[in-house]
């Protein structure tokens, strides 16, 4: 074959080698096709470890608070027993070392998440007792009168 064929061919071969070399150095070593096959499993394996190592904030373990706050467990005899401590008191993280104090949410809006009356005929929301926040003692925290750990209205009297 003549030079006019070989010269561009050399250029192409050099380009291919260059791309392959760049690919070799730039693509991470753990990049590959894993369990879910070529279409869904093409990734860096270490990305899985990143998500596995993500920090857990909420314990959502009912017994976690028991050692120090056993007096609050009266809630277990009330309808509020279904609500985890951390839903109102904030994520436990490494409490009591870090943070020392949790951020308690005492806002009216927290209670209204369930206790704003929405009488939806096909939802469980209709069965929860509610108050109109604009008429029912506006401006003061619910916990001023109601004990969230013992919410029964009869016990208030």
């Amino acid at each position: 074959m003549k030079g006019h064929v070989w010269r561009p061919l050399y250029a192409v071969i050099c380009l291919v080698v260059l791309v392959l070399a760049a690919r070799y150095f730039m693509v991470p070593k753990d990049f590959g096709i894993y369990e879910r096959g070529y279409m869904y499993g093409f990734h860096r394996k270490s990305a899985e470890d990143y998500w596995k190592a993500f920090k857990v904030k909420y314990q959502f373990n009912t017994d976690y608070c028991k050692d120090c706050h056993a007096d609050k467990y009266s809630i277990m005899q009330t309808p509020h027993a279904i609500i985890h401590c951390e839903n109102c008191h904030g994520p436990v993280l490494d409490h009591p070392s870090d943070p020392e104090k949790l951020t308690v949410d005492k806002k009216r809006e927290l209670c209204l998440r369930c206790h704003y009356p929405l009488h939806y005929p096909t939802s469980g929301r209709a069965n929860i007792r509610g108050v109109d926040p604009e008429k029912h003692n506006p401006g003061i925290e619910c916990s001023t009168c109601h004990n969230p750990h013992m919410p029964s209205l009869e016990a208030m009297k």
Binding site: M39, R44, A47, Y58, C114, S123, P133
Partner: protein
Amino acid sequence: MISRRDFLKNAIKGIAGLSIPLSVIEIASPRKIFALNDVKAGVRWAFLIDTHKCVGCGLCVKACKTENEIPYDANVTRTWVERYVHLKDGRDFADTPKGGRDGFTTSKIDLGEGHYQNIDEKDIDKAFFVPKLCNQCENPPCVQVCPVGATFQTPEGVVLVDRSWCIGCGYCIMACPYGARFFHPVLHVAEKCTFCYHRVNRGLKPACVDACPFGARMIANIKDPGDPVTKIIMTERVNVLKSEYGTKPQAYYIGLDEEVR
């Protein structure tokens, strides 16, 4: 002038030469093939949502945003709660203010752009709440479209995003038929529900599942026939969202209504 014999000889040589580089690029290793055919992987996470139990308190959204470090006041969320109101005159309304993060503390429907629709309780035929999250599809379209391999499915069926590899092109956000993906407002990479991959791998349940006081959200290993939630999925009447797309979503719903999309 090239003879027919030479032409055929050279053609065979040329084809043989061309096929060598292809076989060099992909050498089939037996271990890889074994891994692909490994059916006893043992874990495949799926989700079950009982819409009858959801009261729209939004504690799941609050817990999710805190657990997964999604900026709390940004209007993006990995899981969200939708409200559906069907009136007696046939009109349908649906809203999800702030993704339901603060619950639903008004009977008015948020129409967006500061407009609200007053609803008279007497006009309501049916109204209910539907929690939504990533369906962790068996055939995830968001993974197929990624041009750089930054999103993928783990052996447990969870679709994850490789934050350091994502280039932020947004194809996956467009490809998801469920609107489950969004841009992380701080990191500027694609973001999505991971079924709390860090929690389920430590033997905990996802934050939204634990946060729900009413037990509306459940997680199941559908490869474990003894799993109580798997039993519900296998034996009771459940439905999935947009099955017509062929994505094989793995978030199952009890009490899914026609209007829910």
